[in-house]
């Protein structure tokens, strides 16, 4: 039993990171119908910038804040320079553009910083906490709390604030939103900034556990995307549940079947889910207009 609990705990930790990446995907997808393959790079940037700011002598919280702000700015730049000019391009082109952006950011990071693995100290020490025979790192609790906090904030933002509702309106029908006076360009900018900031936050939270380097982004993007699809594209609740589910699933596969094939398990389940319910767990059925 402690074994199962241990796998569950580590699965939830990893799952919380996937959930954060998936939430980032969801925000951009809702605002612009773009799936941003560079989402994982935001996580990488969050970790890398924090490390180098911290190494330069800044206190950790300030370094993290700087990392989140800089990454948000990069997210906005990505929208302005690459996504907005390509408005209305076919899906294949958008996929290539965001994958190109991801490779570009990776190349730039490797030039500006380096190719080493980095880690900064955990927020509340490295003393594992015992829970029913299993252990969990205090940093894992930070990650899980971070994912839940972001989810609650997003929920409040989308249901309780005017600008949040404007984002939802834009997601629903861009032209109609413009007609009622919503500045949809601003909504896009805001979505990219938020999405990048959430990604960077995930990077800040998880780096003390998993370490970071310039090339960790791609794998995270794929997992986060898989989580978002598992939950149903464009649905924040789906992103959270999909992320946690995927994390637990991976941990169980690694624990009980084969650690080499843990990544495979994730994809196999996603294939299965998509065949059974192509809209994901929480997605709505949609019909094509002719």
């Amino acid at each position: 039993m402690p074994e199962l609990l241990q796998f569950l705990l580590s699965g939830i930790t990893v799952g919380a990171v996937y959930a954060l990446v998936a939430l980032g995907f969801t925000i951009i997808y809702n605002a612009s119908d773009v799936v941003n393959f560079a989402q994982g790079e935001f996580v990488m940037l969050g970790g890398m910038i924090t490390f180098f700011a911290h190494a330069a002598g800044l206190p950790l919280p300030l370094a993290a804040l700087i990392a989140i702000i800089v990454t948000a700015a990069i997210g906005v730049a990505l929208n302005k320079l690459a996504i907005e000019p390509a408005r209305g391009a076919p899906v294949v082109s958008l996929i290539i553009i965001t994958i190109g952006a991801s490779i570009f950011i990776r190349g730039a990071t490797q030039l500006v910083f380096d190719k080493q693995l980095h880690r900064f100290p955990a927020f509340s020490g490295d003393q594992p906490i015992l829970i029913g025979g299993a252990t969990i790192l205090p940093q894992s609790l930070w990650v899980i709390a971070g994912a839940l906090a972001v989810f609650v904030c997003l929920w409040l933002f989308f249901t309780r604030t005017l600008i949040g509702r404007a984002v939802l309106a834009t997601a629903n029908n861009r032209v109609a939103a413009q007609l009622v006076g919503i500045n949809t360009k601003y909504v896009m900018t805001l979505s990219f900034a938020m999405s990048a900031a959430i990604g960077a936050l995930a990077g800040v939270l998880v780096t003390p556990i998993t370490l970071t380097s310039y090339d960790v982004g791609l794998a995270l993007a794929l997992k986060g995307f898989a989580a978002a699809m598992l939950g149903g594209m464009g649905n924040p609740k789906g992103a959270l549940v999909g992320g946690l589910l995927l994390g637990v699933l991976e941990a169980m596969t690694a624990g009980y079947i084969s650690s080499q094939y843990k990544d495979a398990a994730a994809f196999v389940v996603i294939l299965a889910v998509l065949f059974a319910m192509p809209q994901g767990l929480f997605g709505r059925k949609s019909t094509d207009r002719v």
Partner: protein, 318 residues
């Protein structure tokens, strides 16, 4: 007399392949040339899938991996001649593409992209994890094709790089010819129809699911043969051939040059194959440049390089 676009494409392709060696100062250029042709072949397959049928796959390197490892494994374990091993690889790829394609081609856009990507990752994962069979991430040796020795016996003595330049060039022209023929065939018309509008295609009696599958299987065979050629040429293979980056490179080459045109896509393959060779001096900047090229072309030349340029030239002439 006006040549058909099919004849023009084949003539240009054959002429460039035949004449280019005149300007090659060293055998290294033959090597780069044959790499371009190998990539060009995979990309021609993707023209059928992306350009004709309008579907996407981010997992076609998986089929290249199957073709490559067939050439490495079948001669050792089944005692097959490497050439037959390549055929076996192509058949296997076709069969797997059929089985995988049936369910996943029901999906569209991003969903199709990610499921095909998942398939590619599964293949590369199996190749790197089943180390006792495939040698794992370290790769494994591939036997000699043996055709060069046969040519030598009948009096055609080519160096190794020259032989592979000529041989993969020949396969590429053959592949391009088949793809161009397909374009004008009833199947090609059906594919283009479902690209335009699946609903409209269905109402005029096109079996959409069937034709998508045809395009998927054909492009898988192209990718598989390209993988086989790469393995036989390098006489060595690693799981990278089936990796995610290879899939991305294939799609980028296709879309960069122009997914709707065989010649354009091969041009894309030529550019992206040569770029890293030219940039070895700036190796640090390679990723930066690749990313930048991908973004710029997609933003400013959505149809790809060749169609955009020919349109501009035509526009000026009229």
């Amino acid at each position: 007399m006006r040549l058909s676009s099919k004849a023009t494409t084949l003539l240009i392709l054959a002429a460039v392949i035949a004449i280019a060696p005149v300007f090659f100062p060293s055998s290294y250029y033959f090597r780069v040339g044959s790499l371009i042709f190998v990539n060009g072949l995979a990309v021609t397959g993707l023209v059928i899938l992306i350009g004709y049928a309008g579907q996407i796959s981010l997992g076609h390197a998986g089929f290249a991996g199957i073709g490559a490892y067939a050439c490495a494994l079948a001669p050792v374990h089944l005692g097959l001649h490497p050439a037959l091993a390549a055929v076996l690889g192509a058949l296997l790829s076709a069969a797997i593409a059929y089985l995988v394609g049936r369910p996943i081609l029901r999906l569209k856009g991003y969903y199709l992209a990610v499921t095909s990507l998942g398939f590619g990752i599964l293949v590369s994962m199996v190749l790197s994890n089943e180390a006792q069979l495939t040698g794992g991430p370290d790769g494994m040796a591939v036997p000699e094709l043996g055709l060069r020795a046969v040519l030598k016996a009948i009096g055609i003595d080519l160096s190794n790089t020259e032989f592979w330049y000529a041989f993969s060039g020949l396969v590429l022209v053959l592949g391009a010819w088949l793809a161009l023929n397909l374009y004008h065939s009833p199947t090609g018309r059906a594919l283009r129809a479902l690209h335009g509008s699946e609903v409209a295609a269905r109402t005029v009696g096109v079996d959409v699911a069937h034709y998508k599958l045809v395009a998927f299987v054909l492009s898988a065979i192209y990718a598989s043969v390209s993988g086989s050629l790469l393995a036989l040429q390098n006489k060595f293979i690693t799981p990278d051939v089936a990796g995610f980056m290879h899939s991305i490179e294939m799609v980028t080459m296709t879309v960069l040059g122009g997914a709707g045109s065989v010649l354009g896509a091969i041009l894309g393959a030529a550019i992206l194959t040569t770029l890293p060779q030219v940039l070895t001096i700036f190796q640090e900047y390679e990723q930066l440049m690749l990313g930048l090229v991908m973004m710029l072309v997609m933003i400013f030349m959505r149809e790809g390089l060749l169609p955009s340029i020919t349109r501009r030239i035509r526009g000026r002439a009229e």
